[in-house]
Symmetry: C2
Subunit: 391 residues, 2 copies
């Protein structure tokens, strides 16, 4: 196990009606003028935005609003949010929505008190300071509610990049599973896939002797396998939603990823898909993961065999561990299809002829050295073959 530090100071309020505490929590964590940041109409239509405003009113905390966050959140709205916060002397950013809204809020929070272009943070600069951020989560997926990370799409070129820093860890996150009950099945499944990807990206490690984090990752994957089909079958299943919601946070606050190298090549390879085609990130991951894992499996067959046996219930083929490893990848593929995820480029809306362009942006965009690194370092040729496996 490698040396590490771990710090997760977010206060979580979890359960029914938890959003009623928004005003009190903003005050507790130092906010006196709030930007409420959100996406489209569902937050308005469901009445959630109204309840959040009422809670802020009750607590005597003034606010301004900025809606319009889209999935795969854009740099343009971040610049707009930064301007608005400066003009209105905002000192707290409250995200009401999913991962895209939270990531956009984190970018605004970091940008407001930074003299340069906020995109510097998405080009590798660590975020040292930011306005405090709070979240009210409406979809279990990105894990941004408990993470120090944010991903934004640069509209100047349509490519996605991530930023990180303890300063953008939410001060509080309100997790009410009931808020996710109105999600369509497709979005729910996208969220499940994203959570599972966060777990797989940590599982694929080159660090030896990491039993405790292996076991924790497996535990959270088993939870998704148990609860995923239940919410697809019955969207109103509060308890299944609740188990998924806590698993989604634990999958990405890094308590199960400490002390080990991690992969993140599936995320990198997918990010070019959702940036170019604006498909859902989770849907892109459903197509990407089985292809990546098939391509890199031989780098560590026993690791793939382990997850096949422990998580997917495959029988270990002791004479042919690679058969077990492969069976685990196929079990993942079939699970994702069973919850309604796409299985190839066509179902995703991606095009084979774009592969050279995807590979070029992936491996060379924004200063990358002609390859991406993780569990295995993948050059342009590797990445082209992986995209080809998805066709």
């Amino acid at each position: 196990m490698n040396n590490f530090t771990f710090y997760s100071p977010t206060f979580f309020s979890f359960g029914k009606d938890a959003e009623q505490q928004a005003g009190d929590l903003v005050k507790r964590f130092g906010g006196s003028k709030v930007l409420i940041h959100y996406g489209g109409g569902s937050v308005v239509r469901s009445g959630l935005l109204g309840r959040v405003k009422a809670s802020l009113d009750d607590a005597g905390v003034p606010y301004v609003e900025l809606g319009g966050v889209k999935p795969n959140p854009r740099s343009g709205l971040v610049y707009e949010g930064i301007e608005l916060c400066r003009r209105e002397d905002v000192d707290f950013v409250l995200a009401v929505g999913g991962g895209s809204t939270i990531d956009s809020s984190k970018a605004i929070a970091a940008g407001v008190i930074y003299d340069g272009d906020f995109w510097d943070f998405y080009s590798g600069k660590y975020i040292e300071k930011a306005l405090p951020v709070g979240t009210i989560l409406t979809i279990a997926a990105a894990g941004s509610e408990g993470s120090p990370d944010s991903v934004i799409t640069n509209e100047n070129g349509m490519f996605k990049r991530g930023a990180t820093g303890d300063a953008i860890r939410p001060k509080f996150s309100i997790l009410n599973p009931a808020l996710t009950q109105t999600l369509p099945a497709y979005q729910t499944a996208c969220g499940i896939t994203d959570i599972m990807a966060h777990l797989y990206e940590r599982y694929l490690t080159n660090t030896a002797e990491v039993e405790v984090t292996d076991r924790m990752i497996e535990a959270l994957l088993l939870t998704m396998i148990h609860e995923g089909p239940r919410v697809i079958e019955n969207p109103d299943h509060y308890d299944a939603r609740a188990n998924i919601m806590w698993a989604g946070m634990m999958a990405h606050n890094n308590s199960c990823g400490v002390g080990r190298s991690q992969d993140w090549n599936s995320h990198n390879i997918e990010h070019e898909l959702s940036a170019l085609y604006d498909c859902a990130h989770g849907a892109g991951l459903a197509v990407t993961m089985p292809a990546v894992f098939t391509y890199v499996m031989n780098h560590d067959v026993m690791r793939f065999a382990q997850i096949a046996v422990r998580v997917w219930g495959c029988q270990m083929d002791f004479a042919h561990p690679e058969a077990t490893a492969k069976a685990g990848i196929e079990a993942l593929r079939h699970f994702l299809i069973s919850i309604g995820m796409p299985k190839n480029f066509a179902e995703l809306g991606a095009k084979e002829e774009d592969i050279p362009k995807l590979v070029d942006v992936l491996c060379n965009g924004d200063g990358r050295p002609g390859s991406i690194s993780g569990f295995v370092t993948l050059n342009e040729q590797d990445c082209a073959k992986i995209y080809q496996l998805m066709v």
Copy 2:
């Protein structure tokens, strides 16, 4: 799943030589005059105390010292520490040791800035304020390095009680697995047992639909079953020590206990044993747990069958689930014996004739209502039968 809040703002620095950061971390978390609190000679003999002082010296942070913490830490030393801190204007308590030292430090930190008797907190008063506490852990066991809890033995009657409050959550905890390599096998095994008890106490719940926390608890138990025998066999196994150390923290910071009722009757029943006989808490738990679980098994046979199958690898007997449940309890008993733990009153140094006295203090001491509550409410008769099972 029940509604809950979760807050774990401790900064963890984990790995080799992590104690060298002690001075910097004290300063980062606001300390300007430190009480170094520790136990016996091993912290001195190993050179750890010297390294900690050197780190404080390098950071320019003055300190006073108070050693002498014993296992099952006593109220007398807490009063002494409170006086010392007040006299010396200490504003930060640094625990260097195991759970007993950390718990004693937490009691001192709460008592220093409290006008009344610190024991009020151990009689049910929530701890709202305390001096900041940091820890340098030398044994993986109590989980106090990441918890809001503290247990102290009142010397006026020799009974143990717990206190809690977010204010006594450590600001930072330094976890260097190498520091635990010099522990004797018996103490190592006591620590393993304590960690497993923290997991079992959370597993035994009356809350339905808690798959995610069930799975996480199982993951940490599986880790202990894998790593425990490896460190008993080879005390210098750094990686096995590391996996146990992180599991010990995760087992008790409550991320795997949220949203569910918990038991804690095994701890309550054991506390009277270690208070009266001054045996190691973990050793007491090794004798207590199988007895308690055997006694309460029929309250929820399927829960015991589930842990037997998922954690202990028992085959499910679908026609006789109680046989599977029992096999899981026996597997736990044999595991604990295999790592060198005592199996009954005699090996623990406890006496059958003391049972009435144990039961009386347990069920009626310090204002208790003639029973203890948890997974099952146990009255005096129940508790007497459970102690009898340990003879």
